[in-house]
């Protein structure tokens, strides 16, 4: 039956009289505001009117069905309607926001610049942290891959070695069913790689078991990963090497000569990722070394050993089982020595950041720096956020009229809050876009500075991108919430009357914000200065030997001067600028080897392991190393050659002698070659390693087996000529080997490079943080000056001087910055004290970094403020008072 409006109206009263009203429950959410209410009741009452009619004249279920059907069919239009009116409002908000940006270009610039620089810092730090955390996470079944390391405990010493005996991997495979694969790596740095006339030194060379290809993930381009490293003298190379030596990737089956031995290429893999601790270019089969006598030595520590466990192995149980795996084979021997070999497992992905073991493949990353940088990033972002809050609240008065008017025409508080939040979100997103651009262009610069190969593209991953947008949203929200509440709380009556005093709101809060910003900046500056102080200290500290004017020639690629080192020395000393030549197994700053050493007459339990160095009779005088007792090696004393020991003072202490003189004449037995010889002299403790570590016991011998470096003491007045001479001598001696050289001082300081890089990056972020804080201060200062224009005018009329007014305007900021200093000094002291503990030899913290950074912050703040102050102070009072 159709419903007819005319008849319905006629019958209206009748219906009412006869029947009770049916009340259908409202299916719609209840209206919240008056304007929504009108629409709501219009809709529901209109439907209800017909519903009542239908219910009284027909079956109720039909009426109800009709009612519900009308509601449901209307839902799409209602939603569209809602969106339509919302969009109109948003369009208006956007328009107003953009107008505000345009009207106050300076402030908008400060806001966006501060935000985007802060975010760019954060992005860069994010990239760095992600890079550090991503180490070795890409391997398949990575959670089942472990490295086994060895803790060697003697009665006197205890040292954890990352590499272990070559026997460990085969033993694990044979004795423990939980092990799926086990493989050894022995990295051999710097090999001379040759193909016809092309030859270079390659650093990322290693020997490895076939099973390594089953444990770590390699991407084969050519060759069969199942059998690439089975035969002796086979070689897997990276794409880079293939291009370098063969011009293209296709090099399977070809031959490369490495240190005079030929290797057949059985595989080409993609280049080593940056985020692995095992970076590779050439991987030779470990089978090649099968005849080497070390291969069955349980006491050797040269082989990095990796395991892949079978799925669902209880790692803790397995770990405790393998802990004493050597005892079964060499337990008795170890017992006699009083030594314990304790093995434990290390998850693959934790190797980069969480191992500080001796002789690791590459220096591990430092989790402390990750933490420091994360904090710096957060701090800078915080400064930027505070900036925004500060500027927005300071400028609130300018928007007061708008807020008042909006309220008068019916804006809800919630609407206003969302409008202002929307504005800050808009700024946050704009800044994020800008920050991406800044980060994109800053990355190459940062890479050059840090030596880390960071890639911008990690940010373009959709997950990261989404979380960045989420992050920007959060930042916008954090920064915008307070200003939004302040702005939306204005009372229209007050603001429209125009008596609201500009910027008087939240003055205390703004002060706190500026103080916090500067406190953070000052902490960062103190940190930077202390770092530089420490690096300077390390570079200028006397190391116990002369590191200046030393030209060092490393002998690589199998050059052997065991027989003819005297002749070689003569060759290089023929030039007048070369004042001395010495040969040695290592030079300070380069690695030292570690062997067992024992005092003759003592029992085996006193067996110690000490660093060894080998050099000729010229080394001690040329390097200017002080002799504390006894004498150095002498050419005239034929017994000194392979027949005597020198030790350093630290070794004297380690043997438990009270004075260096007591050591003289004592006989030592060395594990390297098994000789027993007397101690003829004691040297001072010279720093053969960087100042991060203590000088450890050192044993020195005149032994030509391992001579790897020629050190020339040179006069640098005619450096070019000298270098040309050295090069030509090299070419005559070893024509098939590339000529290489370095200066000892720069090479030695390379040990501090990682720390220094961190220092310089830290410095840059500090400056940026300070810059952002200054942007905030600049905005605030100009605002204060602006809002006090009239006051300044009156003061000038009454006779105040320009200087007096500048002082008055600057005094406030000076006070804030001083307060910030007071807060940050103890914090900075605490942090830097902890940081310096990383170094065995460290500078005192001292008062200067504190005073300097305080003064610097003050100066910067003053400069920032003074422009505005001077402008305000020299303004003509006529202008500022004209409109009163």
């Amino acid at each position: 039956m159709g419903w007819n409006s005319k008849s319905h109206i006629r019958e209206e009263s009748q219906i009412n009289g006869k029947k009770e009203r049916e009340i259908p429950s409202y299916p719609l959410p209840h209206p919240q505001t008056a304007s929504q209410g009108e629409d709501f009741y219009e809709f529901s009452d209109d439907i209800d009117e017909i519903f009542q009619h239908k219910a009284s004249s027909g079956p109720k279920w039909k009426a109800r069905a009709w009612y519900w059907f009308r509601v449901i069919e209307s839902i799409p239009s209602i939603i569209m309607d809602y969106i339509h009116w919302r969009l109109i409002m948003i369009k208006n908000y956007l328009k107003i926001a953009l107008r505000n940006f345009q009207k106050h270009k300076g402030y908008s610039f400060l806001n966006i610049a501060g935000f985007s620089i802060g975010m760019a810092c954060c992005l860069l730090i994010l990239i760095y942290v992600r890079h550090e955390l991503s180490y070795d996470k890409y391997h398949q079944d990575g959670e089942r891959i472990y490295r086994i390391v060895q803790d060697i405990r003697t009665q006197t010493a205890n040292r954890i070695f990352a590499p272990v005996s070559p026997m460990v991997a085969p033993t694990l495979k044979a004795d423990y069913p939980q092990v799926e694969y086990a493989a050894r790596i022995i990295p051999a740095r710097s090999r001379l790689v040759r193909r016809e006339a092309t030859f270079f030194y390659e650093d990322r060379f290693m020997y490895a078991d076939q099973e390594l290809l089953d444990i770590l993930t390699f991407q084969f381009i050519q060759g069969n990963p199942q059998e690439a490293l089975i035969r002796p003298n086979t070689l897997v190379i990276s794409q880079r090497i293939a291009h370098k030596y063969f011009g293209n990737v296709d090099s399977l089956g070809k031959t490369l000569e490495i240190n005079q031995a030929n290797y057949e290429i059985t595989g080409v893999v993609k280049d080593s990722p940056e985020n692995t601790h095992v970076k590779y270019d050439l991987i030779a089969s470990l089978r090649t070394l099968k005849d080497w006598n070390e291969m069955s030595n349980w006491h050797s520590t040269m082989f990095f050993t990796y395991l892949k466990l079978k799925p669902n192995v209880n790692v803790e149980e397995f770990s405790s089982q393998v802990s004493r795996l050597a005892d079964k084979y060499v337990g008795e021997q170890l017992n006699n020595w009083g030594t314990v070999y304790h093995y434990f497992l290390q998850p693959l992905s934790s190797i980069h950041l969480h191992s500080q073991f001796s002789f690791d493949i590459e220096p591990p990353g430092n989790p402390v720096y990750i933490m420091i940088f994360s904090f710096v990033g957060l701090f800078i972002l915080l400064i930027a956020c505070l900036n925004f809050m500060n500027l927005s609240t300071a400028r609130a008065a300018n928007r007061a009229r708008e807020v008042g008017l909006r309220k008068v025409v019916g804006a809800q508080k919630l609407q206003l809050i969302s409008q202002f939040l929307g504005e800050s979100l808009l700024i946050a997103f704009l800044s994020l876009g800008l920050a991406m651009v800044i980060a994109r262009f800053a990355i190459p610069f940062l890479n050059r500075l840090t030596g880390i190969n960071l890639i911008f593209d990690v940010l373009l991953n959709p997950v990261v991108l989404l979380s960045l947008i989420g992050g920007a949203f959060l930042v916008g929200l954090t920064a915008g919430l307070y200003p939004a509440f302040v702005l939306s709380a204005f009372r229209p009556v007050v603001t429209l009357k125009g008596v609201q005093r500009a910027g008087s709101r939240g003055l205390a809060l703004r002060t706190v914000l500026v103080v916090v910003q500067f406190a953070i900046s000052v902490v960062l500056i103190i940190g930077t200065l202390t770092m530089y102080k420490q690096f300077n200290f390390m570079k200028n500290q006397y190391l116990g030997f002369e590191k200046e004017q030393k030209l060092v020639l490393p002998l690589r690629g199998g050059i052997d001067i065991q027989k003819n080192f005297e002749a070689v020395k003569d060759m290089f000393s023929k030039h007048s600028s070369v004042t001395g030549v010495t040969v040695s197994s290592t030079v300070p700053g380069r690695g030292v080897s570690n062997f067992g050493i024992k005092l003759v007459g003592e029992d085996d339990s006193k067996n110690q392991s000490m660093f060894h160095m080998y050099f000729d009779d010229d080394f001690i005088p040329e390097y200017g190393i002080e002799m504390v007792a006894g004498r150095a090696f002498q050419k005239e004393m034929k017994t000194d050659f392979m027949g005597a020991f020198l030790i350093n003072e630290a070794a004297v202490k380690a043997f438990g002698w009270s004075s260096p003189e007591e050591a003289l004449g004592k006989r030592l037995f060395t594990g390297h070659g098994g000789r027993t010889n007397p101690i003829i002299g004691v040297t001072g403790d010279f720093h053969y390693r960087g100042l991060q570590s203590q000088v450890e016991p050192l044993v020195m011998e005149f032994l030509p087996w391992n001579f790897r470096y020629i050190s020339l003491s040179i006069d640098i007045t005619d450096l070019k000529d000298t270098l040309a001479f050295v090069r030509s001598q090299w070419k005559t001696l070893w024509p098939g080997h590339p000529f290489e050289r370095f200066f000892l001082d720069t090479d030695f300081d390379r040990q501090y490079r990682a720390d220094e890089q961190v220092g310089s990056v830290f410095g840059i972020f500090t400056l940026l943080g300070l810059a952002i804080a200054c942007l905030g201060l600049l905005g605030l200062a100009s605002f204060t000056a602006e809002s006090r224009t009239k006051e300044i005018g009156i003061r000038k009329v009454l006779g105040a001087s320009v200087g007096g007014i500048i002082l008055m305007l600057s005094r406030q900021f000076t006070k804030w910055v001083l307060l910030a200093n007071c807060i940050s000094w103890p914090v900075a002291y605490f942090i830097m004290f902890r940081w310096l503990k990383n170094f065995a030899y460290r500078t005192s913290i001292g008062i200067w970094p504190f005073v300097l950074s305080g003064a610097f912050a003050l100066l910067i703040a003053f400069l920032t403020v003074s422009y505005q102050s001077i402008k305000a102070a020299i303004a003509n009072p006529v202008k500022s008072l004209r409109y009163e």
């Binding site: 409006s5 219906i15 009412n16 629409d39 069919e73 209307s74 799409p76 209602i78 309607d81």
Partner: protein
């Protein structure tokens, strides 16, 4: 000039024809009479709200009515702007259709 939409045209005509008795249910009924379809209330209100904002219709509320549980009815009335908008759409209609007598596919295809 921005033309009104077809939905707006139909609703506006219904309001015009109802001569003061135009509120939700009657408008919907009028549209049914005009075009033979019942429109959803949502569509009608949405268009009315927009047209109110553009000034084509005026909304007035009645006194409380007992039948509606003591609440008001909201009546719509066409304004002078609404009338001229209708005239405009009619003019454009006739000029656009001018010259077309028999609208057949075959004729066009020839």
């Amino acid at each position: 000039m921005i033309l009104i939409s077809r939905a707006e045209e139909i609703i506006l005509l219904a309001v015009y024809k109802l001569e003061g008795n135009a509120y939700g249910p009657t408008i919907r009924e009028q549209i049914y009479e005009d075009i033979g379809l019942y429109w959803s209330f949502g569509v009608i209100y949405k268009a009315l709200k927009k047209m109110k904002a553009k000034g084509y219709v005026k909304k007035t509320s009645s006194d409380p009515i007992a039948e509606r549980g003591g609440r008001r009815r909201y009546y719509y009335e066409i304004t002078a702007t609404g009338i001229s908008a209708l005239e405009e759409i009619r003019r454009i209609h006739s000029s656009a259709w001018d010259g077309i007598q028999n609208l057949t596919f075959e004729k066009k295809a020839k």
